[in-house]
């Protein structure tokens, strides 16, 4: 069985906790500096007044004049999410982090460890943050388990047997296929590589009158394949409760952290870049000393206006070369929109420096495209837009050789 843990509105809960605001007040996440002026996740009290994620701040305030906006605490969310995963891993689970506040894991090994599924499910709430409204779903595979986690109440886990899955999924909205979590109504939500359909396809299905997973499951497979391709067939199979995707448990990170506090807020980019470079040199030295290589690097900044900023990047190959990491990471600092009080660099050094091996198995095309895209983004980040160009044949029959091909910007 797969166990899914879902904590709804996790980033909002973290922000409420940081701002010491009760959950029953009408509150919404405000926009981050430089972002579009729309509200993010909101409390139930705010939703009762008609505030929904994605509407403009002005409209939200006119619908609910007593609405309070809180700044998203990205640093706090990352820490809280990591803590949740660590507590699940401390129970012995090999956890796949689906997104912040959502994780799933196989129960098979744990059942023996804890004396059966019932005992495991009784102990599991103790690993979840108190008062966060964590929900637990259990099903034979990943997609139904995530949906069960979303539909469960905070009082008891929702356990689905194999024969119950189809009946359970049938009334759920088709939007759940655009996001494994079913972030319905959250216009900011982006689909992930695991989501079989994009929001546009879901809208198209809804315009055709297909509004539930049950209706998707009733469609002929051939028709789905013809109209929506292989992604559609995957969605069709998920709607029938057939999810053969194995969980991808994460390797527990081996974090290295280094930070610098400024006596006064610093807004000058060269100063921030120098500080970040110094921190990168420090963390690579620590990683080297441990015989480890760095795979992921995250930057967090505490801003002068009480907001925080964070960016993370995954290197194509684990590295301990500070210059290489700096060239990939430093351009990200340009997006900091306010003076910085404290800058932190956190790296995951869970890769053994000498143990990097290529895979024998051929990776699937989607994974190859994702990796290639990631590598290209690194090149663009390091060397600018002009570093990657696409040659396009524009006048194949011209007598002037130089007019046959042009170099156009390469958009990833």
């Amino acid at each position: 069985m797969v166990i899914a843990v879902v904590i709804p509105r996790f980033p909002l809960l973290v922000a409420l906790l940081a701002a010491k605001i009760p959950r029953d007040r009408p509150v919404a996440l405000g926009p981050q500096p430089g972002d579009p002026q729309v509200v993010g996740l909101c409390t139930g009290a705010a939703q009762k007044h008609g505030v929904i994620p994605g509407i403009r701040v002005g409209e939200a305030l006119s619908r609910c004049p007593e609405l309070e906006l809180v700044s998203p605490d990205l640093e706090g969310v990352a820490k809280a999410s990591e803590k949740l995963l660590e507590r699940l891993e401390a129970m012995g689970a090999a956890v796949e982090a689906v997104e912040v506040g959502v994780a799933c894991f196989e129960s098979r090994g744990l059942e023996r460890l804890h004396g059966g599924l019932d005992r495991l499910l009784r102990r599991l709430p103790s690993a979840l943050p108190v008062g966060a409204g964590g929900r637990i779903g259990v099903a034979p595979s990943r997609f139904p388990a995530l949906q069960a986690g979303r539909e469960a109440t905070t009082r008891a886990p929702l356990v689905l047997q194999k024969r119950e899955v189809g009946h359970f999924l049938s009334p759920l909205p088709v939007g759940r296929l655009a996001s494994a979590l079913g972030r319905d109504g959250d216009s900011d939500a982006e689909s992930t590589p695991d989501d079989p359909l994009d929001a546009k396809t879901v809208a198209m299905l809804e315009s055709l009158g297909i509004r539930t997973l049950g209706q998707v499951a009733m469609l002929p497979r051939q028709a789905v394949l013809d109209r929506l391709g292989l992604a559609g067939v995957r969605a069709w199979r998920l709607a029938r409760g057939e999810d053969d995707r194995r969980l991808r448990p994460r390797t527990p990170p081996d974090p290295i952290e280094s930070s610098v506090s400024f006596p006064e807020p610093v807004g000058a980019l060269p100063a921030l870049q120098s500080a970040a470079k110094m921190l990168i040199y420090q963390i690579t030295a620590i990683a080297n000393a441990r015989g480890r290589a760095i795979r992921r690097v995250g930057f967090r900044a505490q801003l002068a206006d009480n907001a925080s900023w964070s960016r993370s990047l995954t290197l194509r190959e684990p590295s301990t070369d500070p210059e290489r990491i700096a060239s990939a990471a430093l351009p990200n600092l340009e997006t900091i929109a306010a003076p910085v009080l404290e800058l932190t660099v956190r790296a995951d050094a869970s890769t053994v420096a000498s143990g990097r091996q290529i895979s024998i198995n051929d990776t699937d095309p989607g994974e190859r495209r994702r990796r290639t895209g990631e590598a290209l983004r690194h090149v663009q980040a390091a060397y600018g837009d002009e570093a990657l160009l696409r040659a396009i044949e524009v006048e194949p029959h011209t007598r002037l050789p130089e007019r046959r091909w042009v170099l156009a910007p390469f958009d990833i």
Partner: protein, 89 residues
């Protein structure tokens, strides 16, 4: 993101060409060195874009330099160009 423009893949590069009294190339300058022309393999005229404000009328010459190197040069009005990336040897 700023404005991004297209550019041609093989923009012609200016090249210094030494000619005789009949406007026939006798040497080209590559990286500051004079390379005498051994022979002219072919010569032709390209007339294109005549319907635009910037018509193209180019005299193209495919020549061989002493030492065996082949080079195609073109002349439009009084300027000599080549599409090849040129460098000294």
């Amino acid at each position: 993101m700023g404005t991004r423009t297209l550019r041609y893949l093989a923009e012609p590069q200016p090249i210094d060409v030494e000619t005789d009294g009949h406007d026939t190339p006798v040497a080209v300058m590559i990286s500051g060195r004079r390379h005498p022309v051994d022979c002219i393999r072919e010569e032709w005229l390209i007339q294109d874009q005549w319907w635009t404000d910037v018509p193209v009328a180019q005299r193209c010459i495919d020549l061989v330099l002493e030492g065996g190197r082949q080079l195609e040069i073109r002349r439009q009005r009084h300027e000599w160009t080549t599409s090849k990336k040129i460098s000294g040897r």
